[in-house]
């Protein structure tokens, strides 16, 4: 093949094949016709035709997050590219490797306000890790290979390659992927051994330690989760996960305190507040986690392991920063722990665990299912029980149902939980589930949804039908933008401004209209039956679970409050929380 001239479009497709791409999520248009032609003439890459470009990016995110491989998107210029922007921003905030190929008008038309022209590199610059405008077919192969390197290494993220139509026709020589040695981009993988030793000694001498770990552990690969589990068990210390980190440590383990943060558990947040050594691995101290910054874990020494140096000391100053890949650093930490024959302070640890068990006994996720109305917490705990042991994957939309899913579903393994954490994008879950199902055709893939979020990308049911993807939509229908309603109740005097969902469709008929199965459940006694029917029905199923309209998510650290000022379900009734003016302005 060497020296043989190919068209730019063929070069792109060949480069994707050589990068191991098996599937592309896309939507055609004028500016990508040559690329679609090249796709037509080959058999190694499968194309999934979405119904809106936004769906393509979320599908690629689901694919990427459940496989550890980059997700690939192909869209046309102008509106195709702008529709992809939300997904790119989502992937940037959650560090998901995505390659997004966008068509562009011909190079001589760029800047002319040509038909379907948009300044795609300009628009996507702040929502991508990097982006390229390829102006000649001879740069095509190198750019695609480099884009994969950038998207997948270091802190992963989305990369856009903008491809003017004329360059897709232009002929050039194809260059296979060589080992990319980028001139300027060289992410640090190995951690500094001196810092690691210092950290291990701090960890070993802690009296009230806690591991606080996030999505970085998942991004580092399954080995990182194994090593984390191993290290945490060696120490006997408690561990809490961020929303993005769920699954990096087995949820059923006694050392696991559940999720932390705004809707985290009582025990996790109190342990964070009172700890003397915090071991943060692959998490970034974001505002959902820390609550009021000046009251965040005031008496602890902090160790921060992160592959992105800009995450260090961004919000919270730390004592021992370690830049590098989580798996590499954990490996070193375990080695040092063993060679130094570290022994935790058993007496102190015993006392610390007693304190934690005290918090745990508060049973902050307790709920009572009584009366004729289904509690969303009940529906989700039944979903968890009835799917246990199955090869299951969960995605979510954004809202209360997402937080309940994080609280009541249990993750024993990484890559099984796909949720929009950083951007909080309603409409993420359904296309994401589609991407997960494409990657894992035989798995049980469930999108935990809310009726408002479901409406944001409902068109993807059509894609799901076309490819016979047996995705299950578990829709907690409270007829409200529940999370908005909750904030309005607690912070805005129960003035439910525009948060009630009028004129909802009949979701059962809607599912049927797309060709799938629609189920509805309104009776708490029939919840199990409905879930089993959803699982056992072949093909796509939407289960409309009609739940309590005014249930709130607890525990809750109100905006601007500290971790130890949490609201619990049983103390939140009556007057609303004291929220400062400053707190009110926080999202």
């Amino acid at each position: 093949m060497a020296n043989q001239e190919m068209t730019g479009a063929e070069i792109v497709i060949q480069a994707l094949v050589d990068q191991g791409v098996e599937v592309i999520f896309g939507y055609p248009g004028g500016a990508v016709l040559p690329l679609y032609d090249a796709l037509f003439k080959q058999n190694s890459i499968r194309h999934i035709l979405v119904r809106q470009e936004g769906g393509a990016v979320h599908a690629a995110e689901g694919y990427a997050r459940s496989t550890g491989k980059p997700g690939v998107v192909l869209v046309t210029s102008g509106p195709g590219a702008t529709n992809a922007v939300t997904g790119l921003a989502d992937a940037l905030l959650d560090s998901i490797p995505i390659i997004c190929l966008t068509g562009q008008v011909a190079t001589h038309l760029i800047g002319n306000d040509a038909f379907q022209e948009a300044d795609t590199v300009g628009i996507t610059r702040p929502v991508t890790k990097h982006n390229y405008l390829v102006k000649s077919a001879k740069d095509m192969a190198r750019t695609v290979h480099e884009a994969f390197h950038v998207a997948t290494s270091g802190r992963p993220g989305p990369v856009v390659i903008d491809l003017p139509k004329d360059t897709q026709f232009e002929e050039a020589e194809y260059l296979p992927p060589a080992l990319v040695q980028h001139k300027s981009y060289k992410p640090q993988v190995k951690g500094d051994l001196k810092a690691i030793k210092e950290a291990v000694s701090l960890i070993a001498n802690a009296k009230k330690p806690i591991f606080y770990t996030g999505g970085g552990v998942i991004n580092s690969g399954p080995k990182a989760s194994d090593l984390l589990t191993k290290f945490v068990r060696m120490t006997g210390y408690p561990i809490t996960n961020t929303l993005m980190g769920l699954g990096s440590y087995p949820a059923s383990d006694r050392q696991f305190l559940g999720m932390l943060g705004m809707h985290g558990t009582y025990e996790a947040n109190h342990a964070m507040h009172d700890c003397d050594v915090m071991i943060c691995i692959g998490a970034r101290f974001d505002d959902r986690i820390t609550g009021r910054l000046d009251a965040f874990s005031p008496n602890s020494k902090k160790i921060h392991v992160d592959i992105d140096p800009s995450s260090i000391n961004k919000n919270v100053p730390v004592d021992i920063p370690i830049v590098g890949d989580v798996a590499h650093i954990l490996e070193d930490m375990i080695k040092v722990w063993k060679t130094d024959v570290c022994r935790p302070d058993a007496a102190a640890l015993e006392e610390w665990w007693q304190q934690i068990e005290g918090w745990r006994s508060r049973d902050c996720l307790k709920f009572t299912q009584s009366g004729p109305i289904i509690k969303p917490q009940y529906a989700l705990s039944r979903l968890n029980e009835l799917t246990k042991g199955k090869n299951r994957y969960f995605t979510t939309e954004v809202g209360q149902h997402q937080m309940w899913a994080a609280q009541y579903l249990q993750f024993e393994e990484p890559n099984r939980w796909m949720t929009s954490g950083g951007l909080g994008t309603m409409g993420y879950g359904l296309p994401s589930a589609m991407g997960v199902q494409v990657a894992h055709p035989d798995a049980l893939v469930i999108d935990v949804s809310g009726e408002a979020s479901a409406m944001m990308n409902i068109q993807e049911l059509s894609t799901i039908m076309q490819y016979r993807l047996p995705v299950k939509v578990f829709l907690l229908n409270n007829e409200y933008m529940g999370m908005v309603r909750q904030w309005q109740e607690l912070l805005h005097g129960s003035r439910y401004s525009e948060s009630y969902m009028e004129s909802l469709p009949d979701f059962v008929k809607l599912a049927e209209a797309f060709g799938g199965t629609g189920l509805r459940c309104t009776d708490p006694d029939k919840v199990d039956e409905a879930i089993i029917q959803m699982i056992e029905t072949d093909g796509p199923v939407l289960l409309d679970m009609v739940v309590d309209k005014e249930e709130n998510v607890f525990p809750m650290v109100p905006s601007g409050a500290a971790h130890n000022e949490m609201l619990l379900a049983d103390n939140a009734e009556g007057e609303g929380p004291e929220v400062s003016r400053e707190g009110m302005t926080l999202v």
Binding site: H130, L133, S184, P309, S310, V316
Partner: protein, 170 residues
């Protein structure tokens, strides 16, 4: 934010690939994250490697300055960055062109001041002068301030360029 609130001014040098959009990336990063730019200069400095050097003077708390450097380092076309304020002694220079209008006593005084500042007149008409002045930002500022009452009508400044002192490079 838990931090010392004292504001510092730092001069940061950034070596970047001289490619399409790189300046937009740097400037976009500053505007997108709300960082200050007091001055910014950019030009190609290495023909062979096709590199440009950007010199940015910015202000912020130490935590913000550290963030700025980390964020700049994250940009793919950035080769290296240096905090010239932190890394030890550096030379900083700025050039300004200052147009002064006037005749008689004021004009004589302007020429006298220019002489003291080693500013040279690079354009002359019977009623106007354009001075070129070079120095650190304080000197340039002082010169412009002095020219104001003497008929200054227009100023153009290049912004700071800077190098480390001694044999060290960035």
């Amino acid at each position: 934010m838990i931090e010392k609130t004292e504001i510092h001014r730092h001069t940061i040098a950034v070596l970047v690939d001289n490619e399409f959009g790189v300046l937009a990336r740097v400037v976009g990063l500053f505007s997108g994250r709300g960082y200050n730019i007091e001055s910014l200069t950019v030009a190609k400095v290495d023909e062979k490697e096709n590199l440009s050097r950007i010199t940015i003077v910015t202000t912020g708390t130490m935590m913000v300055i550290e963030q700025i450097k980390a964020q700049l380092n994250r940009l793919v076309p950035v080769h290296s960055i240096a905090d010239l304020t932190l890394d030890g002694p550096s030379v900083e220079r700025e050039m300004a062109l200052v147009k002064v209008e006037g005749t008689g006593e004021k004009r004589v005084e302007a020429l006298r001041m220019a002489d003291i500042f080693r500013a040279s007149a690079v354009d002359v008409t019977e009623s106007s002068l354009v001075f070129e002045v070079t120095g650190d930002r304080e000197k340039v500022k002082a010169f412009v301030a002095l020219m104001e009452p003497l008929g200054e009508v227009e100023v153009c400044r290049t912004g700071i360029v800077a190098l480390k002192r001694g044999h060290e490079t960035i």
